[in-house]
């Protein structure tokens, strides 16, 4: 295996990784919860991915790229932790631990985009990540586990809890 020269490496990177820029931005946007931070994260992650590109041996360039994006996002979130405490859904407060999915309120199917985005943003970062990857990017549990660096079982329970919380948030919005 000879070393890729720069122009080849760039072309190869643009071909394999850049098609996933939308997915990367969407994930970062839901994790960071504002445009500017999300753009910064994706720019930084793209550059890091490019530098590590030669270490990419796998077959799933989307999962590989998204894991770099999520790591960059979580680092950035830790750096400006200030906003974290504010909005995240409090399970204790809402009693979501005990309440099952069938909370009794039928969900309005015609949720508008803004409401759905705002609801997802109320979840904790780990739950935002699981929901975004599963529902919006259509990743398998295995892919989500690889991207997030946790076992598949954890992904399964995160998704179950995140959906229970979303159910509560969305049904509250619509019964107000």
């Amino acid at each position: 295996m000879f070393r890729l020269t720069e122009p080849t490496r760039l072309t190869e990177f643009e071909r394999q990784v850049l098609p996933h820029l939308d997915a990367a931005y969407s994930l970062a946007r839901f994790l960071m919860r504002n445009d500017q931070d999300a753009e910064d994260v994706v720019q930084e992650a793209s550059l890091r991915a490019f530098r590590f590109f030669e270490s990419f041996r796998g077959e799933n360039s989307r999962a590989w790229f998204l894991s770099i994006v999520r790591n960059t996002s979580f680092t950035a979130l830790k750096r400006n932790r200030t906003d974290e405490a504010n909005v995240v859904f409090d399970e204790e407060l809402h009693g979501a631990q005990s309440s099952p999915m069938d909370a009794g309120v039928a969900l309005d199917l015609a949720q508008d985009r803004q409401t759905v985005r705002a609801a997802i943003e109320q979840l904790s970062p780990e739950f935002r990540e699981a929901i975004t990857l599963r529902e919006l990017e259509g990743c398998s549990y295995k892919e989500i586990a690889d991207i997030s660096g946790v076992p598949i079982g954890t992904i399964m329970s995160r998704l179950a809890r995140a959906r229970r919380q979303l159910q509560m948030i969305l049904s509250k919005t619509y019964t107000k």
């Binding site: 760039l10 069938d102 309005d108 759905v116």
Partner: protein, 247 residues
């Protein structure tokens, strides 16, 4: 045979996501038949998923970000050291490729051929990378909505099982710098990739054969959409497929 209620509540999510094995799936189905509570939960999960995805809440990368990323990469690529033996090798390779390309395709239209090569490349990669489909379903009503919000055009998706070309699923792919739809059909274990993207012309054409590297490839334009069908199937059967789709 013993899944307790709280386990079941969690498993239902995996069940709805199509992430449980056959045996567990059968157990869950059996349980659902006798448990109204869990049945309601299952419906709630499906309703929530529908609510989450029906309005395509995913964000799209702004054009400015795209430009910035590309600029960053160019700068980075320029700054990194270039290995001289590699450069010489690459230059040689480029010359060789140009020479053969010139010799082979002198009389043919270049853009279509370069896309044809990409189409074959995409096809081969889709088979190698265990990434043939993102949405696996023979149901056109499952495959078509999956693309909603992911692309800005609406491909027509038809199952051709009755003609011997069952739909296997779909995924997004990348062709000629654009995101395109890839539908996957099966013919006796031979996967067929059908790439669909908006055409630059509104002139309809009939499927035309392009044979490259042992692959058969049909290209046609219909209703302002470009179609590329590629497979290692024989030409006759692939033409039959192309004609069915183009009909």
């Amino acid at each position: 045979m013993s899944i307790d209620h709280s386990q079941m509540q969690e498993l239902l999510h995996a069940y709805v996501d199509g992430e449980v094995d056959l045996v567990t799936g059968r157990e869950i189905e059996q349980h659902l038949r006798s448990c109204e509570g869990c049945r309601r939960t299952e419906q709630q999960i499906r309703a929530l998923r529908e609510a989450l995805t029906s309005n395509a809440p995913a964000y799209r990368a702004p054009a400015r970000l795209r430009r910035n990323v590309r600029a960053d990469l160019r700068r980075e690529a320029k700054e990194s050291r270039v290995s001289w033996p590699g450069l010489v090798f690459a230059a040689g390779a480029v010359c060789a490729v140009l020479f053969f390309a010139a010799a082979l395709f002198q009389n043919t239209r270049a853009p279509r051929n370069s896309i044809a090569d990409q189409v074959i490349g995409n096809h081969v990669r889709s088979l190698l990378a265990t990434h043939l489909v993102d949405v696996a379903s023979s149901d056109q009503h499952t495959v078509k909505p999956w693309f909603d919000g992911k692309i800005d055009f609406a491909p027509s998706v038809r199952d051709l099982s009755s003609d011997g070309f069952p739909l296997a699923g779909g995924r997004l792919d990348y062709l000629d710098g654009k995101t395109v739809v890839a539908l996957v059909y099966q013919r006796n274990k031979h996967p067929i990739n059908l790439f669909i993207s908006p055409a630059s012309t509104n002139r309809d054409t009939t499927p035309a054969l392009i044979a490259r590297r042992g692959y058969s490839l049909f290209h046609w334009t219909y209703a302002e959409m470009d179609y590329w069908a590629v497979s290692d199937l024989n030409q006759t059967e692939l033409r039959q497929f192309a004609d069915l789709i183009a009909r």
